[in-house]
């Protein structure tokens, strides 16, 4: 067995009361609060032992689990057959076999005052991603320090991340005090060292507590017999009384991102959402953002009858006095202090994917209930989480943290992250894999977005097109080098020109001699190449032209980006489908040979991928269709004489 005996003062669960008067006990426990916290440190700091103790003292570990744990400790434990609490905290089989943990585990325990959800993020190279994830929902962070070792680089890293993610309450748990003879001077020195560092990164206050997770000192009651010099609270006392974020959020202005419109019949139209901040009552004036329309709250409808009031942290359904437009993504806010909307921001980005950030690429950005297309510029700098130095960076790799400009396709309603986690925190989603690849925290909007307004033009795109007697359109030819894009595009343009249509052909090679001569062939440059061509094609499209483009444009995401710039139906993706072997055997420009010999890097089809269109408007199989026949068919489609038998 283990030395880990229950603490002297069993304040978790009053067994006597449970046994004697369960009703009284339940009454006592019905109105507990909830605190979420994160523990930061490694197994060496005694973190697992501390968590094990919290669970064990609150009887969250049962005998059968303990028996299994003992058996596991003997089999795969790292503590020489002693109870290995790390095994209790490590769940997945693959991890156990490899002796690593790859994730965030959530643990639960309760005292008479509060229920606790502990996010446990074991330390290893995936640490940043996991700790940021675990910390994002935490009210408090327990930073564990081994009293024998003092403040280490990892202490700084943990503290920086906790502060970055906006945790307001930091506990410095100086652990293993039993191994330094409960020395007051050692404790004071560690606290002084930490204070100097904490101040330098903006942590104004923290609560230092000398503990022994193993012996139980100052865990449930303080001071322990061994630390008569300690005057602060025990760890549990502190966790039970510290203010939770949800309570603090009630003091702020009312905001509720609309999740879902509840419309069961014509007489009821409710707006469902989780209140991000503030309080709300029937009769309160509210404003719908971004439309700016105002109304008043008619009722807070619920399963248990209408509510007189609702507060931050509750999921509610509001009805409004007026028929105003309001749907998912909108924010219902206090009428006199609505949040802003903008489309350009500075933000801190935390990258969470093995595939590095690609500046300029369009990702989905989800903030509260809004999902928009967004791109991230090359970082202004990356932060080294160990030294906290700012480093120059062109991208962010897995676990990279940096500051960058974010541009969204349309304005989003937001608040700075320091004012609201709910309206300032966002995730980034890869459009192709759908993976969550990053997270971010908005600092502020950039003035550019607010001051550069669209100039309304009297002669608009419809007027341009009318004069030319044609439907503007972009014919986007995509395919491998040597597939025949330019050949077919040329033929199409000649035929359209002959039919009296105003056209313009943007050719890949030609554009790279002028507009894009500053760009190379890295992934980032290829994306920027396509973005610029897309913008130019869009301007020409506005001018009423039929634009033809012939670019390899190998990435699906960028082709979709251009499609989304244009009105529905005006983007025709034409996939010139030529097998690699055939294109390579033609090798008109001798490029494949150079690529095979290693003289050309990042060549599509050789050492850079080509992502074929999934649903192109037109697909031309050049193994069976001649360029002439292909051009005829495309022209027929453009001129509205489309026959589907290509």
């Amino acid at each position: 067995m283990t030395d880990l005996s229950p603490s002297a003062d069993p304040i978790y669960k009053t067994d006597a009361l449970i046994a004697e008067d369960i009703e009284a006990y339940l009454e006592l426990h019905q109105n507990k609060g909830l605190l979420r916290f994160i523990t930061c440190g490694s197994v060496d700091d005694g973190k697992s032992t501390l968590i094990g103790r919290l669970l064990y003292d609150s009887k969250m570990i049962f005998e059968d689990q303990l028996a299994a744990l003992e058996a596991d400790s003997k089999r795969v434990g790292t503590q020489g057959g002693e109870i290995d609490f790390a095994l209790l905290v490590d769940g997945l089989a693959a991890e156990r076999e490899q002796g690593i943990t790859i994730d965030v585990a959530y643990r639960f325990f309760a005292t008479e005052k509060r229920k606790f959800i502990v996010a446990d993020t074991p330390g290893h190279e995936q640490y940043t991603r996991n700790m940021v994830t675990g910390a994002s929902t935490a009210d408090l962070a327990v930073i564990l320090i081994d009293a024998r070792k003092g403040v280490l680089p990892q202490t700084r890293r943990h503290s920086y991340l906790a502060h970055l993610i906006g945790i307001r309450h930091i506990v410095l748990a100086v652990n293993k005090m039993d191994l330094v003879g409960y020395d007051h001077a050692i404790f004071d020195q560690i606290v002084a060292d930490y204070r100097a560092f904490a101040g330098s990164i903006g942590i104004a206050a923290f609560t230092p507590i000398p503990i022994s997770g193993f012996k139980g000192d100052n865990i449930t009651a303080a001071p322990s017999d061994q630390t008569p010099w300690y005057e602060g609270p025990s760890l549990i006392e502190h966790l039970e009384t510290v203010e939770v974020d949800a309570a603090a959020a009630q003091e702020q202005k009312f905001r509720m991102p609309v999740q879902w419109v509840n419309r069961p019949n014509l007489d009821f139209r409710g707006f469902a959402g989780l209140i991000a901040s503030g309080t709300v009552k029937p009769g309160d004036p509210v404003r719908i953002v971004p439309s700016g329309k105002t109304s008043t709250v008619k009722a807070i409808s619920s399963f248990d009858g209408d509510l007189p009031e609702a507060v931050a942290g509750q999921s509610v359904t509001l009805t409004l006095a007026d028929e105003v437009d309001c749907s998912r993504g909108d924010v219902i806010a206090a009428a006199d202090a609505p949040p802003e909307s903008a489309d350009q921001f500075e933000a801190t980005i935390v990258w969470m994917s093995d595939d590095a950030l690609i500046p300029g690429r369009a990702y989905w950005l989800k903030l509260a209930t809004q999902t928009v297309s967004a791109s991230i510029a090359a970082p202004k700098y990356e932060v080294d989480v160990n030294s906290l130095e700012h480093l120059a960076a062109k991208t962010l790799g897995l676990n990279g943290i940096g500051v960058a400009e974010v541009t969204t396709e349309r304005p989003i309603t937001f608040e700075p992250y320091h004012a609201s986690r709910q309206l300032g925190g966002f995730i980034l989603i890869d459009k192709l894999t759908n993976a969550t690849v990053g997270a971010g925290m908005l600092h502020f909007s950039l003035r550019r977005a607010q001051n550069v307004h669209w100039q309304a033009l009297d002669v608009d795109r419809a007027a341009h097109a009318r004069l030319k007697g044609q439907e503007p359109m972009v014919l986007w030819f995509t395919g491998l080098s040597g597939s025949g894009k330019s050949t077919i595009a040329n033929l199409v343009e000649k035929k359209l020109h002959a039919a009296g249509k105003h056209t313009f052909l943007l050719d890949g090679d030609n554009v790279r001699h002028g507009l894009n001569k500053d760009l190379g062939f890295t992934e980032a440059d290829r994306i920027e190449n396509i973005r610029r061509v897309g913008e130019v094609a869009k301007l020409m499209n506005d001018a009423g032209l039929i634009v033809l483009t012939a670019f390899i444009s190998p990435f699906r995401a960028e082709r979709e980006m251009v499609r989304s710039m244009l009105p529905d139906g005006e983007f025709l993706e034409i996939f010139v489908d030529t097998p690699l072997e055939l294109a390579e055997s033609r090798d008109v420009k001798g490029l494949y040979r150079k690529a095979r010999e290693g003289q050309l890097k990042n060549f599509t089809g050789i050492d850079s991928p080509y992502e074929a269109p999934e649903r192109p408007e037109v697909r031309i199989d050049t193994t069976v269709t001649s360029p002439e026949a292909a051009a005829e068919a495309i022209v027929a489609r453009v001129l509205g004489q489309w026959s589907p038998t290509l």
Binding site: S136, V244, A439
Partner: protein, 300 residues
């Protein structure tokens, strides 16, 4: 206004999760197993979408071996919620007469694991709510609230998405699906407290009563119908028992108990020294990794 209580916070989180799923997926369904966790989940769904009924059906992946009391409450609860109830029984298991007495682990695999996959494919559900909790079992402590499954319903522990704040990424490719666990952060005690506070109806088997039982491999099993094969000379004995979890009756161990009210059940639970899933045979397969292995194969 006072700070919210832990039950209010948990309720708000679960409702938020359910609404996100309805807003961001095409064809959600709620898996309903008739246990206490399902009862809480169904109640939360009714609250989330009130005054509308929850905008998805209930799906019971049936094994034909549940307790009779469970079938009775299932039909009643669905009706009270105004929701469509879909009951699915794996036709191959039905055909082969798969049962827990003769077929061991195959019973769970065919009725539940394969049955669930078949039912989800049959209806084309792209999102399924489940009542699993993180405190139930070790491998679940790390389970996401939104758990992604491949088109074959496989679960890859290394390929799950990080969940930050209350932002859930519900995007997926065609054919892929999500299992969503809205009561991930509830503990067994939370569940009981909520059931009491909200007056949620549960299967009477959770409360102690005299019931016919036999002892098998150290487990007390209830003889719920005539299909239970008795050894020669074996007589079911009446014992005052209740159940901490409910599954197929021949696989679910009872505890001897006098707790006839919810308060007394909680009292026993708080004073007990064994964990909730201890009465279930399923977790003991394949050593400690039993549940995890089943999850990779597509078990809920």
């Amino acid at each position: 206004m006072l700070p919210l209580t832990h039950l209010q916070r948990l309720e708000a989180e679960s409702i938020h999760i359910m609404r996100e799923v309805v807003a961001e997926t095409q064809n959600p369904v709620m898996l309903y197993s008739v246990g206490k966790d399902s009862a809480v989940m169904l109640h939360l769904a009714r609250k989330a979408f009130y005054p509308a009924p929850p905008p998805f059906p209930l799906l019971h992946v049936d094994t034909t071996w549940k307790f009779r009391d469970m079938y009775a409450l299932r039909d009643k609860a669905a009706k009270a919620a105004g929701m469509e109830l879909l009951v699915y029984q794996n036709p191959e298991a039905l055909e082969a007469g798969i049962n827990p007495f003769d077929h061991g682990p195959l019973h769970t695999d065919m009725w539940k694991t394969q049955g669930l996959k078949q039912a989800l494919d049959l209806h084309g559900f792209d999102a399924a709510f489940g009542g699993a909790r993180r405190d139930e079992e070790k491998s679940r402590a790390k389970e996401r609230i939104f758990s992604f499954r491949t088109a074959n319903h496989g679960w890859d522990p290394k390929n799950q998405r990080p969940e930050l704040w209350n932002l859930y990424n519900a995007r997926k490719a065609k054919g892929e699906s999500i299992r969503i666990f809205p009561i991930s952060n509830w503990t067994e005690l939370d569940i009981w407290q909520y059931i009491m506070a909200e007056g949620i109806e549960i299967v009477p088997l959770y409360l102690a009563a005299p019931r016919p039982t036999v002892e098998r491999d150290g487990m007390l099993l209830m003889v719920d119908d005539e299909r239970f094969p008795l050894a020669s000379g074996e007589e079911p004995q009446m014992r005052s028992i209740r159940f901490r979890t409910l599954g197929c009756y021949p696989l679910t161990g009872a505890v001897e108990s006098e707790a006839q009210t919810l308060a007394e059940v909680v009292q026993e639970m708080l004073l007990t020294t064994t964990s909730e899933r201890q009465g279930r045979a399923i977790d003991k397969d394949e050593g400690g990794a039993g549940m995890e292995k089943k999850k990779q194969e597509g078990y809920f």
